[in-house]
Symmetry: C2
Subunit: 387 residues, 2 copies
C-alpha cells in the first residue's frame, strides 16, 4: 500500500445555524475551500460522511447530488454512514482508495444539516444511531444513554460532577479561540453545573449541540504531494483503525469501557508504530462530557478511572501533557454529525502545519483523531504526522 | 493491487414480505448463508449497502448493529449509500479493501426492509434518491421520472409500448424459475399493458416492487481463494467501474442517455480488457422496464435506440445473444434497494459456477452486473470471470 498525505483542508466560515444554505451549499462550500487549499485542479473520486440526510433533510443519494453540485465531472462518489463516526469513516475509505493505488486525488468530506427539523425530530433522527428495537422503542435517547455511562463511571471510579464539567469548560475555552466554532464563548464550572438539566447528571452544557456544517480534506499519495503540492507542510497519514462494538449499551460487560475505541486506537497505534505518549495532541469525540473522559481512558492516555482527574489537573488543556480537543471539540465547535470526523482531521492538520494561532500546541509533530458512532458502537481513529 | 475472487454467496430463502423478520434478521440470515457457502471461519471487515434505514425502519448506524448481530467480533463495518446502487457500491468498496492489501476476508452485503411503512411513506423514502429541492418538492416521484425517460425514448427512437412490456415479460419468465424471487409467475404483453396505470406509459407491471430482503457475498485475494477455498469454481473480479451524473433529470442534455451507466461500464470494460461482445450475460438495473432498455444501450450492448427492438427480438432472453436479467431482475426477483446490487453479483457468480439450474446460460464464462441509483445519478458496474 502507498503512503498517503493530507494536502488540503476546508470548512464553512462558521458552523452553526446556516438557515440560508441547503445541505448541498454547505458541503460544496467546504469542499471548494479544501480544493483551493490543496491547489488541485481535479478530483478522481470522493467520499461523503453523512449520518441521516433522509431524516434531517429528506435527501439521500448524497453521492450523486454532491458530485453533481461540486462540478468536477462525473466522478465516483460514495456516501458512508456510521452515525456520528461517518466523517472519520469517509476519511478512512478515502485513505484506503489512495493507498490501494486505485485513485490519486481523493476528497473526503462530511456534512449534516440538522436544524431544518424541530427538536423532537432531531432527537428522533439522532436516536437511530442506537438500537431502535431494544433501546429507542422503550424511550431512551442519547443524553440518557450517556448519563447512564456517566453514573456508572462516577460509581465505579469516583469521577465527580466537577470533573465532567471541566471537560466543557476546557473545550469552550479552546473553542473561544476558533473562529469557525458555533459557540465561541467561555464558560465556568458553575455555568455548566447549573445549566438546564437534560439527563442526570448531564446538563445542557455537558451536551454537544445540533449544528449545520460541512468539512472536507484532500488526500493524495505522499510521493505526489512531495513533488507537486507544496503549498503547505506535508502531513502524512501514519495510522488508521476502525472497530465496532455492541450497538446497545446493555449488551456491554462494563458500561464505562468503550471497546470499539480501545480496539480502533490500538490498530492505529500499531500501524503508526506509536504509543499514546508519542501523541502531541488528540481530537476526541466529546458528544457528551463523559464521552471525552471515557475515550481518553480507552485510548490509553490515562488509566481506567483517571480520565476525570486528568482533565481536572489540566493534563488535557493546551500546554498540558496531552492537549485534547484544541478545536473546542464537538461541544464548542459544534457537531454536524457527518462532518465532525473530517473537522477533527482538519484541526490536527492545521496544528501540525503550525497554523492554529492562539490555539497552537507547541512542537506538535504527531496528532490523533478519534471519531465515534452512537454510544460507542463504532469508532474510527487516525494518526497524522508532519512528514 | 491484488487480484480478488468471490468465494461465497448468500441470500434469504425468498425475498418478499418478510413480516416476521426485522432488518437485522434479514441481513444476518443472508450474511450467514454467504459465510457458510464460502466456508470461512472469520471475517476481517464488512460493507453494508442500505439506502434508507432511517426512513424505512428508523435505524441508522447499520455498521454497528449488523456487525454486532452477525457475531463475528468487533470487526470494522462500513455502511455505504448511493440510493438503489448502494449494494453495488458496497461490493466495490469491499473489492478495493481486499485489492489494497488491507484485509483478506471481506463480506459485502446489502439489505432493505421496505414494507414496515405504508405506500406513501415508501414512495417518499424512495424519492429521497432524486433531487429534493428541484424535483420532489414539486411533486415528481420515480415512476414519473422514468415515465418521462420512456416518453422521450419513444419520441426519439420510436420505441413501442410493446417493447417496454417485453422487458417485464422476459424478466418474469426468468424469475418464474428463481426460487428466491418475490414474484415467481409469468406474465404476457397484455398482462403488462393492461395492468393499472402508474405514470403514462408505465403500468404497475413496468415497475419493480417494494421488497424486504438481504444479500451477501464473501471476497478474498485470488491467491488465497486458490489455496484455501475450493468449495466452488473460483470467480475472479476482473473489472469495476463507478460514475455519477446529474441527480436531476432536467439537467441532462438527453433524457434517454444514462451517462453514469456509460462511464461506469467503460471503466469496467477497460479494466477487464473486455468489450460488450465478450460478455455472456448481464444483470442490469430494471427498476422500470424503460431502464433496462436504456442501460443495455448505455453499456454498448446495442446502438442507441436499438434496446427496444433487441428485447422484442429475444436478443436479451436466455439463449439470446446477451441474456439480460436471468435472475428475473428487479421486476420479478424484487428490489430491496440496498440488497439489489449484491444479488446481481450473486446471480452472475451462480451462473459462472454453472449452478443456475433451469435459468443456466450455456458456457457462461464472463458476466457483468450494473447497479444504478436514482434516475441514473450514479452507476456501478462489475465484470466477473471464471478463473
Amino acid at each position: 500500500m502507498r503512503d498517503v498525505a493530507v494536502i488540503g483542508i476546508g470548512m464553512n466560515e462558521q458552523w452553526g445555524e446556516l438557515w440560508e444554505k441547503s445541505i448541498r451549499d454547505i458541503f460544496v462550500e467546504a469542499a471548494l475551500n479544501a480544493i483551493n487549499d490543496a491547489g488541485v485542479d481535479k478530483i478522481d473520486s470522493m467520499y461523503i460522511g453523512c449520518m441521516s440526510g433522509g431524516l434531517f433533510v429528506g435527501q439521500e443519494h448524497l453521492s450523486s447530488i454532491m458530485a453533481d453540485y461540486l462540478g468536477y465531472g462525473n466522478i465516483p462518489a460514495t456516501r458512508v454512514e456510521s452515525a456520528c463516526a461517518s466523517g472519520g469513516l469517509a476519511f478512512r475509505q478515502a485513505y484506503i482508495e489512495v493507498a490501494s493505488g486505485m485513485s490519486d486525488i481523493v476528497l473526503a468530506g462530511g456534512v449534516e444539516k440538522m436544524l431544518d427539523v424541530d427538536g423532537a425530530a432531531a432527537t428522533y433522527a439522532l436516536s437511530t444511531a442506537a438500537d431502535q428495537e431494544y433501546e429507542c422503542f422503550h424511550g431512551i435517547t442519547f443524553p440518557g444513554l450517556y448519563a447512564m455511562i456517566a453514573k456508572a463511571h462516577m460509581h465505579k471510579y469516583g469521577t465527580t460532577r466537577e470533573q465532567l464539567a471541566h471537560v466543557s469548560v476546557k473545550n469552550h475555552k479552546n473553542g473561544s479561540k476558533n473562529h469557525r466554532a458555533q459557540f465561541q464563548f467561555e464558560t465556568t464550572l458553575d455555568g455548566v453545573i447549573n445549566s438546564v438539566l437534560v439527563a442526570d447528571p448531564l446538563t445542557i452544557m455537558d451536551c454537544s449541540p445540533v449544528t449545520d456544517g460541512g468539512a472536507a480534506v484532500i488526500l493524495c499519495p505522499l510521493d505526489l504531494a512531495k513533488k507537486k503540492f507544496k503549498n503547505h507542510e506535508i502531513i502524512k497519514v501514519i495510522g488508521t483503525g476502525h472497530a465496532t462494538d455492541t450497538i446497545a449499551l446493555h449488551d456491554r460487560k462494563d458500561l464505562t469501557w468503550l471497546t470499539a475505541v480501545e480496539l480502533s486506537g490500538k490498530k492505529a497505534f500499531e500501524m503508526a508504530e506509536k504509543k499514546p505518549s508519542d501523541i502531541n495532541l488528540c481530537e476526541v469525540h466529546d458528544c457528551f462530557s463523559i464521552a471525552e473522559i471515557c475515550v481518553t481512558e480507552a485510548l490509553g492516555f490515562f488509566e481506567p478511572g483517571k480520565g476525570g482527574p486528568a482533565v481536572e489537573s489540566g493534563f488535557t488543556s493546551i500546554g498540558g501533557k496531552i492537549p485534547v480537543n484544541t478545536s473546542g471539540g464537538l461541544k464548542s465547535k459544534g457537531h454536524p454529525v457527518g462532518a465532525t470526523g473530517i473537522a477533527q482531521i482538519i484541526e490536527i492538520t492545521e496544528q501540525l502545519r503550525g497554523d492554529s494561532g492562539e490555539r497552537q500546541v507547541k512542537n506538535a509533530k504527531v496528532g490523533m483523531a478519534q471519531n465515534m458512532g452512537g454510544s460507542g458502537g463504532s469508532s474510527v481513529c487516525h494518526i497524522l504526522e508532519v512528514n
